[in-house]
């Protein structure tokens, strides 16, 4: 039996969609017994959502007001304690998981595998390196506890099931007070979440201004799509940082991806390699984005995008 402990990401009483993808990854580990840890102030709804994912055998709920908003330094010692007896400790490769899991790994003295994209056996895994220009197959020692983040773009969410039992547990560890949450500025939007959206429309440097990004918004509205951006567009202030798609931004796998006015730097392509269909609109016929696009359209985006929208 390989016990797998998955750390649930959540906000505002809602379970993050990445957790069901972590479960999907965990189910590919041979002989897995999957538990989900919910560390929250209350967490009742989050735990119920986690218990309703197929493959989960038990949800461990740790209620503590210090757990929200989530701070890695506060969560890590609790997760370390909960991981006792777990062969694998998994978290999503979101900023939450990337921040937290290495801290857990160091506390329990385990190696971490970042961005696991495939499980080949209980000791062999595949993960991207060099901005996914190479895929490494790595092996960890048998019988040694392993911490990992799951590359969520590589997995389909596990379906609903259960419900698994929810166990409220007390974790007796000292929590540090040296890290304090101040604020978060999150854009509230009715659009689908960029990381889980089926369709994504991204804009690049060629948009030329934040004002011009409305061309992207308009098409996204028409298609019920999430909005993304290239690093160049974010650096230039045309779009906020949380929309950045690429090696150091978000790695996404939508069914349909529109790259508009994006030349296609290696770092951006890393973020969209798993998209089912890529459409590129760019005035430069030599732009590298056309090397990966399923459909390329060469021309002025300010003419073509409204045309596309009208034809939909």
């Amino acid at each position: 039996m390989n016990r797998v402990l998955i750390v649930a990401e959540h906000a505002d009483g809602k379970l993050n969609a990445a957790v069901a993808k972590c479960v999907a990854c965990a189910t590919t580990i041979p002989d897995a017994e999957i538990r989900v840890a919910v560390l929250a102030a209350d967490g009742t709804d989050v735990a119920a959502a986690a218990a309703g994912i197929q493959g989960v055998s038990r949800v461990l709920l740790v209620k503590n007001p210090a757990n929200e908003p989530a701070l890695a330094a506060v969560l890590a010692p609790q997760v370390a304690k909960l991981s006792d007896g777990a062969a694998f400790v998994l978290g999503p490769s979101t900023t939450f998981g990337k921040d937290l899991m290495p801290r857990v790994a160091a506390l329990v003295g385990a190696p971490q595998l970042s961005d696991v994209m495939a499980v080949e056996s209980a000791t062999r895994f595949r993960r991207p390196v060099y901005a996914a220009n190479a895929i490494a197959t790595v092996e960890v020692p048998a019988g040694r506890q392993v911490v990992a983040t799951v590359r969520v773009a590589s997995y389909q969410a596990a379906p609903g099931g259960g419900p698994a039992p929810i166990e409220t547990v007390a974790v007796d560890v000292e929590l540090p007070a040296t890290t304090r949450f101040v604020s978060v500025s999150a854009a509230r939007s009715d659009r689908p979440d960029l990381q889980t959206a089926r369709r994504v429309i991204s804009g690049g440097r060629a948009l030329g201004s934040a004002e011009n990004f409305k061309v992207i918004q308009s098409l996204a509205d028409r298609l019920g799509a999430a909005i993304g951006a290239s690093r160049a567009a974010v650096d230039a202030g045309y779009a906020p940082n949380e929309l950045q798609v690429g090696q150091t931004g978000k790695i996404i796998a939508p069914e349909l991806y529109f790259a508009i006015g994006i030349s296609g730097a290696i770092q951006h392509l890393t973020g969209i390699k798993d998209a089912r269909t890529i459409v590129a609109v760019n005035k430069d016929a030599e732009a590298p984005i056309f090397e990966v696009a399923d459909y390329g359209l060469v021309g002025d985006l300010f003419t073509l995008v409204p045309e596309i929208e009208k034809l939909l």
Binding site: T94, P102, Y130
Partner: protein, 258 residues
């Protein structure tokens, strides 16, 4: 007893610099799968580490630090990246020499040992190295050092013994406060690193660069993860160029995508 201002009263910032394949190089896997091609390939400081160094220099210029120490762990050639760091403005540099590549837990333990010796008020690292893309070392160091971490920083302000850090998170921008000493990892938009000027390269030659053998630090650096092989990623099939918006929309409709 932890010394807030270093053993010698210096308010010090430790900056990690990793020598990696330059971010502009198109990395290729060796035909035998043993690694990636490095022969004749341009090597540079990890871009996130240059951002970390720039931030350390700015903090020193704002009077929040007295000394900036650049640290690299790697082969002897990493001296080149440390000389660049000195030319950019670091006061001194330390190379922990290791020909074998170290995994993040081992790097964190080496940095912990240096933190014990140097008593920095801040350790600034890149959020990830663009070769192994691990994004682990800073968080691991913070855990081992039992100090706060502020990862993916896009703004750092120090007031007294507290750093207020704005972080780039999936939801947007999060601000946290951490008591110093702390570990901070940098994101892309923290700053734009300065260019190195020729006279500074000359000056940097006179700055101290200590070379320490990894074995002399007494740190367990044994690898835990074995890389079995490297493979090139599956290539996407090159698609078609459509002549106009109508042809594009027709194709998408035919595939049931819109």
């Amino acid at each position: 007893m932890r010394h807030k201002h270093g053993v010698d009263g210096m308010r010090r910032i430790l900056v990690g610099i990793k020598r990696v394949i330059d971010f502009n190089v198109r990395v290729r896997v060796r035909p035998d799968g043993s690694g990636v091609v490095t022969e004749g390939v341009k090597m540079s400081a990890n871009p996130f580490d240059s951002i970390a160094l720039e931030e350390a220099l700015r903090l020193r210029e704002r009077g929040e630090a007295d000394e900036v120490v650049a640290v690299s762990i790697g082969p002897n050639e990493s001296q080149q990246q440390l000389r660049d760091a000195l030319a950019m403005g670091a006061d001194r540099a330390i190379l922990v020499k290791s020909d074998a590549g170290l995994e993040p837990p081992a790097v964190a333990r080496v940095l912990l040992e240096l933190a014990r010796r140097e008593s920095p008020r801040l350790v600034l690292l890149g959020k990830q190295a663009i070769d192994d893309d691990c994004n682990q070392t800073g968080q691991m160091l913070a855990a081992l050092w039992d100090r706060p971490q502020a990862t993916f920083a896009s703004k750092i302000e120090i007031k007294g013994d507290v750093a207020r850090v704005t972080r780039e998170v999936d939801a947007g921008l999060e601000t946290i406060e951490v008591d110093l000493p702390a570990v901070c990892t940098t994101d892309l938009r923290l700053n734009e690193p300065r260019y190195i000027k020729l006279p500074d390269i000359m000056k940097a030659k006179k700055k101290p660069l200590d070379v320490v053998e990894l074995s002399s630090l007494g740190v367990d650096a044994a690898p835990l993860v074995k890389v079995v092989k490297f493979e090139p990623p599956p290539q996407r099939q090159k698609g078609v160029i459509v002549k106009d918006a109508a042809e594009l929309v027709a194709a998408l409709k035919q595939k049931g995508l819109v």
